[in-house]
């Protein structure tokens, strides 16, 4: 899964995902409902909807056991937060300006394709030993 492609999660989605991360095995909707600590308590259908949404976003996987689905996270907590942090550091958002990061190419730099063609021609000429 490309975690970077996943949209940001809401508070409720994060809470449900936290429950799945804390469990060593896949959980049913009812098991998630029992472990989510929120006031007022969530309804079964709310948890079902949230899990369905997380599945739709590709954040969790589900397998049918008997009549019910069991859900488990697709990535670990470390992978999830690490990848999202890396995305923020990479400066996908305009205005990125990080004091302790140096990039191969400026992260917000998009180059004119014509310039790239010109530079490619220069490199090819140099490799063939032609004068530039």
């Amino acid at each position: 899964m490309s975690i970077a492609a996943a949209p940001p999660l809401g508070e409720l989605e994060t809470a449900v995902l936290d429950v799945l991360w804390s469990s060593s095995s896949a959980l049913s909707v009812r098991a998630v409902l029992a472990r989510v600590r929120r006031r007022p308590a969530l309804a079964y259908t709310t948890v079902l909807t949230v899990l369905d949404r997380l599945h739709g976003k590709g954040v969790v996987v589900r397998e049918k056991e008997g009549k019910a689905y069991h859900y488990s996270p697709r990535v670990t907590r470390e992978e999830w937060f690490g990848e999202r942090a890396a995305r923020a550091l990479a400066g996908a958002a305009p205005g990125h300006d990080d004091a302790v990061l140096v990039a191969f190419l400026d992260s917000t730099e998009r180059v004119d394709p014509h310039l790239l063609d010109k530079l490619s021609a220069l490199i090819a000429a140099r490799r063939k030993g032609k004068p530039r």
């Binding site: 990061l101 190419l105 998009r110």
Partner: protein
């Protein structure tokens, strides 16, 4: 005593401003393409005003090796002297106002930098927890960053982060270049230098940001050269830059994100520098040493030779003139 300390701080601010404006004026004279490398002079251009100001303001209070205390000799101006702090009393108000104005001018930048550092530290900690992968004896973290990029981040133990999609799209040679380029940043401790320079710029809001950008550019050129040395072909590094540029140009960026620190010029200048086969890094390191030694000797001279009563008395006279 408070007056002496406030006056010393005011002298620090004035010296930083004067030397900073001098450095800014000099930097305009140096054509960008004529002195792209090495990076050290550009880093020093940002640090030098602070170092000179610190040395100069402290030197004012060192016991002069050439003459005795002259405080008692005349009283037509205030004296900056730890032996007779009461003589500096008239300077307390103007010095405090000056230092206060300086603190006010640097406060917004200091807050912004501090918040950015806290945010970065949190993100880098999260990325560091990702499982490291060894590529060609280098520990890296692969991520889906959403941008075809490679970067080095972190001050104490920098980590190299590579975008999976970019890595998959690059050829073997390009990958090698990217890896050695980033290793160059780790070797040079560029994230740490970047932080120090940014903090220094915050303390000197009158210094042009272009000095930092020229350091960044020079650092990139040095790392390109580092990669070229390892792959044995500068044109391979140029080709890798173009390859990453092509991946980048296919990205759906928002319009306002089109120009980076150097825009397209950064890439073009780096490719041209590599194809022009600039001097070997040995020369660059020698230049770095010379560039460090010259200002250090200047500071040493300022502290040990010049202060005597000449600088001390000159500063006091000027302050006295302004005061009256």
């Amino acid at each position: 005593m408070t007056a002496v300390v406030a006056s010393s701080a005011a002298v620090f601010v004035v010296l930083t401003l004067v030397v900073g404006l001098l450095v800014a004026a000099l930097s305009r004279v140096v054509p960008e393409r004529a002195w792209a490398r090495p990076s050290t002079p550009w880093a020093l251009s940002i640090l030098l005003p602070l170092v000179v100001a610190l040395a100069g303001s402290l030197a004012l209070f060192l016991p002069t090796p050439f003459s005795a205390c002259h405080c008692a000799a005349h009283d037509h101006h205030p004296h900056l002297c730890f032996a007779h702090p009461s003589l500096a009393e008239p300077l307390l108000v103007p010095a405090s106002v000056l230092v206060g104005l300086w603190l006010l001018s640097i406060a917004p930048g200091a807050v912004r930098l501090s918040l950015a550092l806290v945010r970065s530290a949190r993100r880098i900690r999260a990325v560091r927890r990702l499982a490291p992968v060894r590529v060609d004896q280098t520990e890296v973290r692969f991520v889906d960053s959403g941008v075809p990029t490679a970067f080095t981040a972190g001050v104490r133990a920098p980590i190299i982060v590579l975008d999976r999609a970019m890595w998959a799209a690059l050829g073997e040679r390009d990958r090698e270049v990217v890896l050695y380029h980033e290793r160059g940043h780790v070797h040079r401790a560029d994230p740490l230098t970047s932080l120090v320079l940014r903090a220094s710029l915050v303390l000197q809001p009158w210094l042009p940001r272009s000095l930092f950008e020229r350091w960044q550019h020079a650092a990139e050129l040095d790392c390109d050269r580092h990669a070229a040395e390892h792959v044995g072909d500068p044109s391979a590094v140029a080709a890798a830059l173009v390859s990453v540029g092509r991946l980048r140009s296919a990205m759906p960026f928002a319009d306002e994100a089109l120009s980076g620190v150097f825009g397209a010029d950064g890439l073009e200048a780096r490719v041209t520098a590599l194809l022009d086969d600039q001097p070997a890094p040995g020369g660059s390191r020698r230049n770095d040493v010379i560039a460090i030694l010259i200002p250090l000797l200047g500071v040493l001279a300022l502290v040990t030779v010049w202060p005597g009563d000449v600088l001390h008395h000159a500063v006091e006279t000027v302050i006295g003139f302004l005061h009256h």
